[in-house]
Structure formats: C-alpha cells, structure tokens
C-alpha cells in the first residue's frame, strides 16, 4: 500500500470543465416534489457514464438511470431484503450502474465511486440477480476482495440483502474457511485471490458455471504486486464470457488502462476528482503542543461532539496498544486491530466493533480500505499517513481512504488529524493542498472554545450545498 499516492491523479489532471455540480436537487427550492426525486436527474453532472461501443450505438435509455429500486425489476425476495436493510432508494452510483449491470446480455463494468456511496450493494444486487437459486451448491458468482475482513464483510452483505432468497448459500474463500473435504459448495463465493487460486487448482472449486466475477477495491487488487497476478490467473481459469465488474473508489490512469484489458468492452462509470473528498466529512486538525500530549488530547475529543463509533489510525502497533490502555482507563470499549493479529482472531476483533460491543477501533493501515461500519462518525489520524522510504512523503490516497470510513451514506462524519511538529504539519498541509480542502484548526488550550468550533464546523459542512448530491443519491 506504500505506493498508493503514485497512482492517484492530481485534481489538476481532470478536465478544466469539472466545476462543482450545480447544487440542485436536494429539495431546497422546490421541496414539494422531493417525493418524486427530481434531483436525481441532475446527477449526470456528478457521475460520468461512458457506455461501451455497442451500447453507445443504440442510444440506450438506460444511461439515464433509474430513480427507484422498483424500476430495476428485481425479484420480490431481493427487494424485500433491501427494505429490511432500510434501503429505500438507490444511491447515485447504484441508479446509474445497476441498469447497466443488470441488462442482458450481461456486460462488463468498471465503476469508480467514492467510499460509502453504495458500491457494495450495487454489485451484490447484480450477483443476486444473476444467481439461479435452484442450484444452490453450484458456484455461479465469484467476488474477490483484497483482505479477509473485506471478504467477510461482503459475504455478510450478500446474506443480508439475500435473506429472503431461499437456497442462497454464500461461502468465504479465505484461509481456514472452506472445508477440505467438500470444497466450495455455494452459489456465491467471496474470497481473497490467493485462496481462490488454491481452491481452483485443487479442483475444490468448480468454476465452469460462473456467470459473474466482481473485483472490489479493484485498483488495489489489479495493481498490487502479487495480487494483480493472482487476479489475472484466476480470471484466466474462468469461463470466457463471464461478466466482469470492477469497483473502486479510485482508478488511477495507469490502473484504468489495465482494468480495460481485464474487463474488455466495459461500460464505465466514473466520479470526478474533486468529488473524491467526501463532502459530508468535516475535516479538522488538532494542533498538539508535543507528541506526549496526544494521548490526553485524544481522550478529550470524545466530549466535544456526539460520537457513535470511531476509528483511530496509528502508525505503530506499540502506540496502538498504548492508546488502547489509556482509552480503556477512560471508560471506552476498545478494539485493536493490526498485523500482529491473525486470521480468525482478526475476524472476532472486527466483529466486536461491527456489532457495537466496542465503539473505538484502533488500527494500523490494515483497515484503511473498504471496511464499512455505518455508525462510524469520527476518524482520527493519530499519525498522518506517510509513505516512501523513511516515511518522507505524505500519503494522500491513504488519507482519503481513511477518512472514507466515516460519513457513510451521507451521514455526518468528522475527521481529525493530529499534528505536533513541523514534519506532521507540512505533511498534512500537502494533503490538504492536494485535494484542495480547507482543514479547520483546533486547539487544546480552551476546550469550551474548541467544542464550539467543532460544533460549528459540523453544522456548516453539513449545510454545504454540494454536500447532498455528492455524498449520496439524493
């Protein structure tokens, strides 16, 4: 993950015409027709749809998207699953991507959308729609993810949305989860590339009837040394006409070229660069007098605003453990997750956090990507993300992925980055410049004042006009 920033394109690379979307459609001037959701039509300003050549010819009406799940003609079971999850209408990416992905004959898709905008649900719906439930143990859909946590999470989403689908079996092809005796006996399989490769080679995974291949966090998967190879090898073993769907929050140009070969002739959906910093997230930084004060300041943050769950990103395992000790002494229930924890132990730790038994998660970079816990309302960069030899450069892309853990689905989210010396201050400034965002400064000297400032920032960022259209499909 160290080379992430090399793959991000600077905002300036984007076409100059990329002005912020007109702030229409969030029901301000004409709330009267909000129920009809007129605002969604404006979303073409936010989401670029590039149809593959074939579909371009026919001037496909699907390009305009849908404004409700009903229009997609999903089966009742799937629709009920969505309702049970309180999904009431498609997010922006979903309304654009789903008609394209669900159309027949199946076509490939490359979709880029910021975190927390419903990518996972989009491809899960496609998978569920493609699976023939009369063959519950015949693998028909394969989903690849970069980590076991993410694979587990996707497995959970499939099960939840598919809870009313009879005979739905979803298995996770991750180390230690598939029985050696029976092999893969599921219609949908979520796994990490290495394990999937092993299973196929051992002939414990029948890929002959696979109809859909989904790759989540595709930029990371296709680019990373090792994993990219594995993905390709997996792909080469699959049926040639398989529908391939690639999803990620970021698609640097280099990766995009490769992705187009990986998923040929694909429809593409893309968000523009400026929109990549999630607008609903109030981004602040805390000016700490020195490094040793960071612990106490951290604990104080929790009194400043209402916080559901929170994630604290740190650089080293040692500081993760020390923060845990301090925070537990302060009454918090804390989970720590870093590379020292293995496999199923990690599952259990993350599960504590997901289920709400613990509300603070301290982690190193393991979890910067993809993990979705909807109630996370604060992300703390206890250490500014750095990369390169000797941690010389700021890692803007990791910063983006980190803060994307909050503000899910347009909810209120706050990120606070700690700076305490020149180096950390400059690193953060560069990241802020990169994304052209203004970070609000907080100071630990007068907590009454800081509290007020935080509250004001939350209020004003929520009310920013472009917030609604960019962060969610409304």
């Amino acid at each position: 993950m160290a080379d992430l920033a090399s793959r991000i394109s600077k905002p300036s690379d984007a076409p100059a015409s990329d002005a912020p979307a007109p702030a229409e459609g969030n029901g301000t001037e004409q709330p009267i027709d909000d129920g009809l959701n007129r605002g969604l039509i404006e979303s073409s300003y936010d989401v670029e749809v590039k149809l593959s050549d074939l579909q371009n010819d026919t001037d496909n009406p699907l390009a305009s998207g849908v404004s409700s799940f009903e229009e997609l003609g999903l089966s009742k079971q799937i629709n009920d699953g969505l309702l049970a999850m309180n999904f009431k209408k498609p997010s922006k990416i979903q309304e654009k991507a789903l008609p394209l992905m669900l159309s027949n004959p199946p076509r490939n898709m490359i979709a880029q959308s910021q975190s927390g905008t419903g990518k996972t649900a989009a491809f899960v719906l496609t998978v569920l729609s493609r699976v023939d439930f009369t063959q519950p143990t015949q693998p028909q859909a394969l989903l690849l993810a970069p980590s076991r946590e993410l694979a587990r999470q996707i497995q959970g989403v499939i099960k939840t949305i598919g809870q009313f689908c009879e005979n739905l079996i979803v298995e996770a092809a991750i180390p230690g989860s598939i029985s050696r005796e029976t092999g893969v006996k599921a219609s949908a399989v979520v796994g990490t590339p290495g394990t999937v490769l092993d299973l196929v080679r051992r002939r414990q995974f029948d890929v002959s009837k696979l109809k859909v291949l989904v790759i989540d966090e595709a930029d990371n998967m296709l680019d990373q040394q090792g994993m990219g190879d594995q993905c390709l090898r997996v792909k080469n073993m699959l049926p040639k006409n398989i529908q391939t769907l690639l999803f990620s929050a970021t698609f640097p140009d280099k990766v995009m070229n490769y992705a187009r070969k990986f998923a040929p002739n694909a429809n593409e959906i893309k968000l523009r660069h400026q929109d990549l910093t999630v607008k609903g997230i109030s981004q602040m930084y805390m000016d700490c007098p020195d490094e040793s004060k960071k612990y106490d300041i951290l604990c104080k943050l929790y009194g400043l605003m209402t916080i559901g769950s929170s994630v604290i990103f740190v650089k080293t395992r040692e500081s993760a453990n020390e923060i845990q000790r301090r925070m537990e002494a302060d009454g918090h229930k804390v989970s720590v997750l870093h590379g020292a924890y293995e496999g199923q132990n990690r599952d259990a730790l993350l599960d504590d956090f997901r289920s709400g038994r613990s509300k603070v998660l301290i982690t190193t970079n393991v979890l910067a990507r993809g993990i979705d816990v909807s109630s996370v309302s604060m992300v703390i960069n206890y250490d500014i993300p750095m990369k390169g030899p000797g941690d010389r450069e700021p890692d803007a892309e990791t910063y983006l992925h980190r803060i994307g853990r909050t503000g899910r689905f347009g909810r209120v989210g706050v990120s606070i980055s700690f700076v305490y010396d020149r180096k950390s201050f400059e690193a953060l400034s560069q990241i802020a410049d990169w994304y052209q965002i203004d970070l609000v400064q907080l100071s630990p000297d007068d907590w009454d004042l800081t509290e007020k400032k935080v509250q004001d920032v939350i209020k004003s960022s929520r009310a920013r006009p472009e917030y609604a259209p960019s962060a969610l499909g409304n």
Partner: protein
C-alpha cells in the same frame, strides 16, 4: 320369588322356601304357632332384605344417573365457558382494535396545535393534574363537553362480555398510573386499551367537531423547549460572573456527553455500562449539590404539569433547584437525543443502552423533584425533533407539512431525505428504548411507562389513510423493530392486535406503496420468519 333375590344365604335352610315340601310335611310342629310365627318372621326378614337390596340398587342407579347428568352438565358448562372465553377474547381484541382505531390525533394544521399532550394524566402523581383537568386523572373523563359520543364510545361500549367490560372501566380509573406493572394478560389489556381511547375523544373532537382554531391550547412541550434555550443562555450569563461555574460547567458537559457516547450494546452481558452509568449519576449529584454556586430555579418551568406543592416523602421538595442541575439534565437529554439521531439512525440497536441509561438516571430518587422525574425535559426535545410520535402529521411534499413532521432544516435548506429518514429511524428506536422499560423488579418509579408507547403508536396508526406519510412509516417501523417482544410482554394479545394494525393494516391502507410503506410489510415478514409471529 325364589332365586330372585341376589344374595340368598344358602346355609339358612329353615327359612328358605325352597326347602323340600316333604320335609315340611313330616315335621312335627308343622302347624304350631311358634313355627308359624317363626316362618312369618323369616319371611319378613327376607322381604326386608330384598327390599333393602332393591332400594340400594335404586339409590345407586339414581346416583349414577345424577353423576351422569352432572358430567353432562359440566361438559356443557365447559363448552359454554370455552365459547364465552373465545367470545371474550375476540371482543377484547375487537375492543383493542376499536380503541386504537378511534384514537386519531388531531389534524394539526398549525405546528403549534398540540396533540393532546399525554392526555391520560400520564405518570402517577401530580403530572396528571394537567393544565386541562387538574382534578380528573383520566383521559377519558377529562375530555371536555365536546366529546362526540358517536365516535369515542364504541371502543368502550362494545366491550361487554358480561362482567369484564364494566370491570375494566373502574379499574382503569382506579389505576391509571400503573398499567405497566399490571399490564400482563387481560387485566393489563383492559386497563390499557381504553387509554388511547381516552385521548381519542379529544382528538376526534378537534377533528370532527372543531377544526384547528377551536383549540388554541399552547403546546407545553414547545414552551419547555423554549425555556430550555433560555436556560442555556442563563447559564452562559452566569458563567461570565461566576468563575467556579465556568471552570466546571464545560467539563461536566463534555464528560456527560462522552459517557453517553460510551454506552454500548450489552449483547446479553450484564453490567457493561456500569462505569458510564456511575459517572453520569456522579456528575448529576455534583450538579445537584451546587458546589459551583449556580443560581436556583423553579423546575416547574420545565414540566408539563406544574408541581405546586411539596409531596410527602420526596427527596427534594424545595421550590427551587440549582440551575446547573437542570442544565445538566438538559445536556443529558440532548446527548441522548443526539446519540439517537447520529448513532441509532445508522444502527437502531444502539438506542437500547441509551434508553436504559435514561430510565435509570432520571428515575434515580435523588433526581426526582416533588416525587416526579424531570423527564419532560427530554420529552420536550422529542416533541421538537420527532413530532409524529406526538400525533403531528403533515405532507412531505409541502413546506408546512415538512415542518410539522420535524424535517430538519440546516442553513435554510431541508436536509436530504436520507438524512431525515435516518434521524426518524434513530428517534423511533430511541423512543421505544425509553418507553418500553421494565421497572417491576426495581423500587424506582418508571419515569415513562409503556402506555406512552401505546399512545404514540396509536397516534401514528390512526392517521387517516390519505394523510399517511413516509416519516410516520419510518418512525413506526423503528419503534417496533427489536421491541416487539417487550411490547408483547407488556400488552399481551392487545399488543398483537396493535402490531397487526401497525404492520399489516396500516401499510395496506396507505395510498402510495412507497419503500417506507413496504418496509412495514417486510418487518411483518421478518417477525414471522424469525419470531414465528403471524400477524396477517
């Protein structure tokens, strides 16, 4: 005669008429008087014996017949009782339905127009001494003359399977405060069902008889909410001249907010939130002790119903309390509401530990004033952020409608639909978390007993079909989801009837089958699948 008697003793040869005739003839004294007498005697004995036998058999037969008859009669009786019980159950269910059906909230053309604010006198003591009818405790009776008999009565009157319905009314009147504890089974059902019915009469009144302006009753909760804003200003003013207060107030506020934020779902493990609970109570105690020398205030400013007189045995009877204490309760309420909105909106199950904490804290005997809790401070906030719980209705398609529904505005703009529905989800779950708490094992008084939950549900469910809004559906769903079991524990069959109303009939008559409406259907399916609860 011979052989006819069942128990003829064969050894007694002399008396037996079956003795051979020859013997008789040969015998000497065949004709003696003594012998004659003897024979007579014997004959009589025999006669008696037979008669006795016959009589015994006859008696036995009679008894058998009697037993048979009794048995038959008992069966008949049992059958009848069973039928009657069924009938009674049907009737009570019907009553419950009627009762709920009738409880239609007022039309609310103006946001200030109140739903009858907790009309049944709510909590035990003086709260019931409502602005409207201080002397009458019960909603049903406290309704003024406008009560339209045609509407309000059926719910109450149909319910007379013999003695039950009449019994119900006095019971209700006698014990309005404790339905929570008596709520199991039929007794609870009867004592509770009529209550929503009680307020209905007002509701119906204002709806059918007198349109909006007829009842310009001030919305007390909104007043309290204003008073709370003033309290905040008042505290800020005090802090300017009182350095001790300034020093401590902010820290207390942040500490309290942090503690509320630290509450976690228990997953069946007891005591996971003990530390936080203790911290919160400690902070409140500190405020109550008023070491920071805040000015004293009349708590009546923040109560639905003023408590004019001291109550015997209450820990705090003085006319004034430290303002910092009231302020801290305000902060506590605010933290809880904010947590509902921000956390439970995304994950409704997180509302429960907060509900537990609210109930535990506000019922703390030290924090009662004149025998009652200060929960009205929290409810005033609820009234502002989630008005549909209090019977307010509106269209999501109009400015005024949204206002009435509690659709939030930020910097002059409506928040997005998703944000609004998230808020409503969290608040619905939060309301259930507060109003469905069991206090049976504890000596403390429940600050917000379950009948308020019933009332709130009734107010939503009884919305006229044309006025059903998505907001209501979302609130309704989240106040039912994860709480169906508690609700049924409190209200038994009546709860089932209410759930059927809420999850089957209500969505069925909604004019537009939006996703929010359909999600009620789906919840019914979920209950069927996961809890075996068949409502349809």
């Amino acid at each position: 005669m011979a052989g006819s008697s069942p128990h003829r003793p064969p050894s007694y040869h002399r008396a037996s008429p079956s003795r051979s005739v020859l013997e008789e003839i040969i015998d000497d004294d065949r004709n003696s008087e003594a012998r004659h007498k003897y024979l007579l005697e014997a004959a009589k004995r025999e006669h008696d014996r037979i008669r006795e036998d016959a009589e015994r058999v006859y008696r036995e037969q009679l008894q058998r017949e009697e037993a048979q008859r009794l048995l038959a009669e008992r069966r008949k009786e049992e059958e009848r009782i069973k039928l009657e019980e069924q009938l009674a159950a049907e009737r009570t269910r019907l009553n419950a339905l009627r009762a709920t059906k009738v409880a239609i909230p007022p039309p609310l053309p103006e946001p200030q127009q109140p739903a009858p604010p907790t009309p049944n006198g709510t909590t035990p003591a003086p709260k019931s001494a409502n602005a409207r009818a201080p002397t009458q405790t019960n909603g049903a009776t406290s309704q003024p003359a406008t009560k339209p008999p045609g509407v309000a009565t059926p719910g109450l009157q149909v319910s007379k399977p013999s003695a039950q319905a009449p019994a119900a009314v006095p019971q209700k009147a006698a014990e309005p405060a404790r339905p929570a504890t008596s709520a199991l089974g039929v007794g609870g059902l009867l004592s509770n069902v009529p209550q929503p019915n009680g307020d209905t009469s007002t509701a119906e009144t204002s709806r059918s008889a007198a349109p909006p302006p007829a009842q310009p009753r001030p919305d007390r909760y909104s007043e309290i909410h204003k008073n709370l804003k003033n309290l905040r200003k008042f505290m800020a003013e005090q802090a300017k001249t009182n350095p001790i207060l300034k020093e401590r107030m902010g820290d207390m506020r942040r500490e309290l907010r942090k503690s509320v934020g630290q509450l976690t779902v228990s997953s069946g493990v007891a005591g996971v939130n003990r530390v936080q609970q203790q911290t919160i109570v400690k902070l409140m105690r500190e405020a109550l002790s008023n070491q920071v020398q805040s000015q004293l205030m009349d708590p009546n400013e923040f109560l639905l119903t003023p408590r004019k007189n001291p109550v015997e045995g209450a820990a705090h009877n003085e006319p004034m309390l430290p303002s910092v204490f009231l302020y801290l309760i305000n902060i506590f309420a605010k933290a809880a509401i904010s947590q509902f909105i921000n956390e439970a909106g995304a994950r409704p199950e997180t509302a429960d530990p907060i509900g537990v904490c609210v109930a535990a804290t506000l019922s703390e005997p030290d924090f009662l004033w004149r025998g009652g809790s200060m929960i009205d401070i929290l409810l005033a906030k609820f009234r502002i952020v989630c008005p549909v719980l209090f019977g307010y209705r509106g269209s999501e398609k109009t400015e005024q409608g949204r206002q009435r529904l509690g659709w939030w505005k930020e910097n002059g703009r409506w928040v997005t639909q998703q944000q609004h529905m998230d808020r409503m989800t969290g608040l619905g779950a939060g309301f259930a978390a507060i109003s469905l708490r069991k206090f049976m094992a504890v000596k403390k008084e429940n600050p917000y007993p379950p009948r308020h939950y019933w009332t709130a549900m009734a107010r939503i469910v009884n919305t006229p079909s044309a006025e059903i809004s998505d907001t209501q559906c979302v609130v309704l769903k989240s106040m039912v989801e994860n709480y169906e079991q508690k609700f049924i524990e409190f209200y038994g069959t009546a709860a089932l009837a209410a759930l059927r109303m809420a999850l089957v009939e209500f969505p069925a008559r909604a004019p537009q089958k939006t996703a929010a409406v359909n999600s009620l259907d789906v919840l019914a399916q979920l209950l069927k699948r996961d809890a075996g609860l068949v409502l349809g």
